[in-house]
């Protein structure tokens, strides 16, 4: 049977409980501060670690991922790569771009700006072809014979700009004669920016280098003749994966193919491993912090309720219902947790400056430091506040009527 005169609390009781809770937080300010600091000490570590992970590692990783050179798999040593091999390798899904390269003795040549007494530079001549990711945005067309694209550093050393001519000073020594020199003119069609290519290199078409090789190996007397490329055998490749994360798979594939390789992406690999490691550390810290937070939130509220059970008894005496009483610690738990979350956010903002400084120092191209998405933080904070409030409700359920009446007897 339910007594129709008995109702369960009212809004006045809830409002009063909130007023009391605020007054008590201020009155017991030292304990309030201790509680908030304790909660903040548990909430802040995963928040700060997540911000650092995103700010430092993800920004680095994205910066390195943007750098095309990190997609390259470097072929070590001299190999024998036929046109058939080249077609097969080019057909792999792991291959983003591939262009054949001749032997080192062909690709390293002394070069000078034409019509000048400028300094001669030992230039590393690399090959390029259409769709070369290194050339993206610099030149989209395939290079013709005797055209060259220079790296910024090479252009600076040779003192040339796009449109200037270079002279390649080819030299071969017959076994029974003095060295023969053969100048070959190349036209500079573009300069690669420093961010795109850091070395002192020039890029020419495979045919150009093949022509040089024919002349250097006495297979031809005219280094400017364009040889038939279909039956050529190459010693190396310049090869790129479609993405940075695909570089490892391409390396494995090339090694299965019998080529010894080295990853330009080692740094990215390390960063990605670091990120994975930090993600695991973050998960562990999050788990430990969350567990400690739950225990601490419940203990704090339970201790608070035990310490203040006489106050709860007095609130009950003036007519506050159990539901009203539950508002008191749950409001306090929620407010203390909210302030602890706020402290964590302030810490994150305080970290923005130092993180920005550190990260920018490592970036190849200056870019905005990654900030963690706000939504997971908001969700996490709301969950923590709800848990803090629930801890208060759970704690107040220990106040059975007999506990309150006993509490009233003690001063």
């Amino acid at each position: 049977m339910v007594n129709p005169f008995v109702t369960k609390g009212n809004r006045a009781g809830r409002r009063l409980a909130i007023r009391f809770a605020i007054a008590d937080l201020i009155h017991d300010r030292l304990l309030t501060v201790v509680g908030i600091v304790l909660l903040a000490a548990l909430i802040a570590p995963p928040v700060v670690l997540h911000t650092l992970r995103v700010g430092l590692v993800e920004t680095w990783a994205q910066d390195l991922a943007k750098d095309i050179r990190n997609r390259e798999v470097v072929i070590i040593g001299e190999n024998r790569i036929t046109e058939n091999d080249l077609r097969e390798i080019g057909g792999w899904s792991e291959t983003g771009f591939v262009v054949p390269e001749p032997s080192f003795f062909v690709s390293t040549q002394r070069v000078r700006k034409s019509d000048s007494r400028g300094v001669a530079v030992d230039l590393n001549l690399r090959t390029t072809a259409q769709s070369d990711p290194v050339m993206a945005g610099v030149t989209d067309a395939a290079l013709g014979p005797f055209q060259i694209i220079l790296s910024d550093r090479a252009a600076e050393r040779l003192d040339v700009v796009a449109g200037d001519n270079l002279t390649v000073l080819l030299a071969r020594t017959p076994s029974d004669a003095t060295p023969v020199r053969e100048p070959v003119a190349l036209t500079v069609v573009a300069i690669l920016p420093q961010q795109r290519w850091a070395g002192t290199d020039g890029f020419v078409s495979p045919q150009t280098l093949l022509g040089f090789r024919e002349w250097l190996t006495f297979a031809s007397d005219d280094p400017t003749a364009v040889p038939v490329i279909d039956e050529a055998v190459w010693q190396s490749l310049r090869i790129y994966a479609p993405t940075v994360s695909g570089a490892t798979a391409l390396r494995d594939k090339l090694e299965q193919f019998g080529l010894e390789t080295r990853l330009m992406t080692d740094q990215v690999d390390r960063i990605l491993k670091l990120e994975t490691g930090l993600r695991q550390v973050f998960s562990i810290v999050l788990f430990l912090s969350a567990t400690a937070f739950v225990i601490t939130a419940f203990l704090l509220q339970w201790l608070s309720v035990v310490r203040k059970k006489r106050d709860f008894a007095l609130m009950s005496v003036i007519g506050m219902t159990p539901a009203d009483l539950a508002v008191f610690p749950s409001f306090q738990g929620g407010v203390m947790t909210a302030i602890a979350c706020l402290i964590s956010v302030v810490l994150v903002f305080a970290l923005q400056g130092p993180v920005e400084t550190v990260v920018q120092g490592y970036l190849v191209t200056p870019s905005d430091v990654q900030s963690p998405a706000a939504l997971p933080f908001v969700m996490g904070f709301l969950a923590a506040i709800a848990l803090g409030a629930f801890a208060g409700i759970a704690a107040v359920t220990t106040l059975r009527p007999e506990v309150l009446s006993i509490a009233l007897r003690g001063d």
């Binding site: 106050d311 005496v317 003036i318 007519g319 219902t321 007897r409």
Partner: protein, 242 residues
């Protein structure tokens, strides 16, 4: 006249049978409006526990009839069937604990206002005038702005009583309201209780060891002896004194 409180065959036990620390039986108790009863008996006989049951802070072990007259009508509320009646202390029933009674984080005035707020009478001129009158009667007018830590033991005791008295009620229960007070303040407290009983038809139940003071003030005496509260003549006794 409709009684304020009607109890029959009420049993209070501390602990479980057969090892109960004590057992108190109240065969019958009826309080009319304006009745003043002082419950006496040796320490540990169950006076405070009985008052806690009347104040709805503790459930009796068993009861046949436990009726309280509603605040705004002559309807009787059956308290024997309700698990939680704490909201009835907002207005209908007032309870003043033996010790303390003042929240540490509020001033005396704020706690009284909270009590008025819960009773739904905050802000009214009548309530303010009544409060001022009671504060004067208890010599507390100068102390309402103080917190518990700033009040003496006697002042705390009177503030707690003032909180209980601040709302007009059907039934007011005070556990040893004069314990620890000097004679003058004890007299003020007893006068205030009797005045409220007479002027507002509030039934007042106190626990006390000072039978003489209670009798002088006009309280009927109900004694707990051998675990039984004998209060059959309480109402008649009071009317005789009155």
């Amino acid at each position: 006249m409709t009684p304020v409180l009607c109890i029959k065959a009420l049993r209070i036990m501390a602990g479980e049978e057969p090892d109960a620390a004590f057992q108190l039986d109240v065969p019958a108790l009826a309080l009319d409006p304006g009745d003043c009863i002082a419950v006496t008996g040796p320490s540990g006989c169950g006076k405070s526990t009985f008052l806690e049951v009347l104040g709805l802070l503790r459930r009796p072990a068993s009861v046949d009839t436990f009726l309280v007259r509603a605040q705004s009508s002559s309807d009787m509320l059956d308290l024997g069937v309700s698990d939680d009646c704490s909201h009835l202390r907002q207005g209908l029933i007032g309870y003043v604990p033996q010790m303390g009674g003042v929240l540490p984080f509020l001033t005396a005035r704020a706690q009284i206002e909270a009590s008025l707020h819960l009773a739904g009478v905050a802000g009214s001129k009548d309530a303010a005038a009544r409060l001022a009158r009671l504060a004067d009667a208890l010599d507390l007018a100068q102390h309402l702005g103080k917190r518990r830590s700033e009040l003496s033991g006697g002042q705390r005791k009177r503030v707690a009583l003032l909180v209980g008295l601040s709302v007009p009620r059907r039934l007011l229960i005070a556990d040893e309201p004069t314990a620890g007070l000097d004679e003058q303040n004890a007299g003020r407290v007893m006068d205030a209780l009797v005045t409220v009983a007479k002027e507002e038809s509030t039934a007042v139940v106190i626990a006390t060891h000072d039978v003489d003071a209670a009798t002088r003030a006009g309280f009927s005496i109900a004694t707990i002896e051998s675990g039984i509260l004998s209060a059959a003549s309480a109402s008649a006794e009071h009317r005789k004194h009155g």
